[in-house]
């Protein structure tokens, strides 16, 4: 009871601390950074989606870190849940079959979801979307399969290769930026092209692709790890 009251008290105090922030009036003008980006973003990078510009290029290092975090989560989950197989019984146990609705639906929906994912990845720089969003959608496609057909999954080796190589590709593009344009993660190593067209915005689409593959592969891996535990 004391603990509860303490927590209530602490929440009130926290609210008190946060109060000066919460009452800030909504802004009606862009801050320095936002103003500069909205003004020069298109000319700088050639990407129509300024949010993607920010994600991939202006604050590309954040994103590299973000990808790393996701990768870490994958590795961490695998590492935490790792156990030496005691016997093969766990593997030979036949998992419960999913319902027919799910199975049929999955087979039906799977290609569309994949296509949607790829679309979102590739159009991240010109419309809402991007590597993360698309990657997650891709992962959902495979999740659907995993739910519908327990025991079937993307081959582990393939997933690993995707994870590693896409990550390497991201780093490689970043280093290429350093080598070619003199700045790490500089996306202007390729021509910016016509804003709004698919092939534009320098290396942003390439990075989006790398991110998309990586995110997709990692989400699948995390899910695979967690699912394995059920058995």
């Amino acid at each position: 009871m004391i603990k509860r009251s303490l927590i209530v008290l602490l929440l009130i105090v926290t609210a008190y601390i946060l109060y000066p922030l919460a009452i800030l009036p909504p802004q009606d003008n862009l801050g320095n950074a936002a103003a500069a980006i909205t003004a020069d973003g298109v000319t700088d990078l050639g990407a129509a989606n300024l949010v993607t510009s920010v994600i991939v290029s202006y604050r590309g290092l954040d994103t590299l870190g973000e990808v790393t975090v996701l990768f870490l989560a994958t590795a961490g989950v695998g590492f935490v849940l790792f156990r030496k197989r005691k016997s093969d019984t766990a593997d030979t146990e036949v998992p419960r079959q999913a319902s027919e609705f799910l199975q049929t639906g999955a087979i039906f929906l799977w290609p569309y979801i994949v296509i949607l994912g790829i679309f979102i990845i590739f159009h991240g720089h010109i419309s809402p979307g991007g590597g993360f969003q698309g990657g997650v959608i891709l992962a959902m496609a495979f999740l659907l399969i995993m739910l519908a057909f327990p025991g079937k999954a993307l081959p582990e080796g393939f997933r690993h290769a995707m994870e590693s190589l896409s990550g390497l590709a991201y780093v490689g593009i970043a280093i290429a930026g350093l080598a070619i344009a003199g700045d790490f993660l500089n996306t202007r190593i390729l021509p910016t092209g016509q804003t709004g067209s698919l092939i534009s915005a320098g290396a942003i689409p390439l990075i989006s692709v790398a991110i998309g593959i990586k995110v997709g592969a990692e989400m699948v891996t995390i899910l695979a790890h967690l699912r394995k535990e059920e058995a």
Binding site: D28, I55, G196
Partner: protein
């Protein structure tokens, strides 16, 4: 102060309450997630300017108009990163919970305090 930010702060409070009072590890993680979502809402709310549009240059928004008509793109970018990170943290927390349950057959946080003093 916008409705979204208020909602965000309420979620933070709710999540915090869940995190600090629930005994079940999974519920704690859920609390964390709620709190995280609240933070994301707050972040998003900060970038929003009433009457403006998304910062995507297309037919609706020309490049020249962007500074005066687009909302702040940066919080959107930040929130994306924050969401992914939140997801990663949640995943890791869940895997710890799984591991703890596997080895101790309990999900009660009071039962896993043998490392003390």
């Amino acid at each position: 102060m916008t409705l979204v930010s208020i909602l965000g702060f309420v979620l933070i409070a709710v999540g915090l309450w869940g995190m600090l009072t629930r005994r079940n590890l999974i519920k704690i993680i859920v609390g964390f997630s709620i709190m995280d979502t609240g933070v994301h809402l707050v972040i998003v709310s900060l970038g929003f300017i009433k009457g403006r549009t998304a910062p995507i240059i297309n037919k609706a928004l020309s490049a020249g108009d962007a500074p005066s008509r687009a909302v702040d793109p940066i919080p959107s970018a930040l929130v994306l990163t924050a969401i992914v990170i939140g997801l990663a943290v949640t995943a890791l927390l869940l895997s710890f919970a799984v591991r703890i349950y596997r080895e101790k057959r309990t999900l009660n946080i009071d039962d896993i305090s043998e490392l003390k003093w």
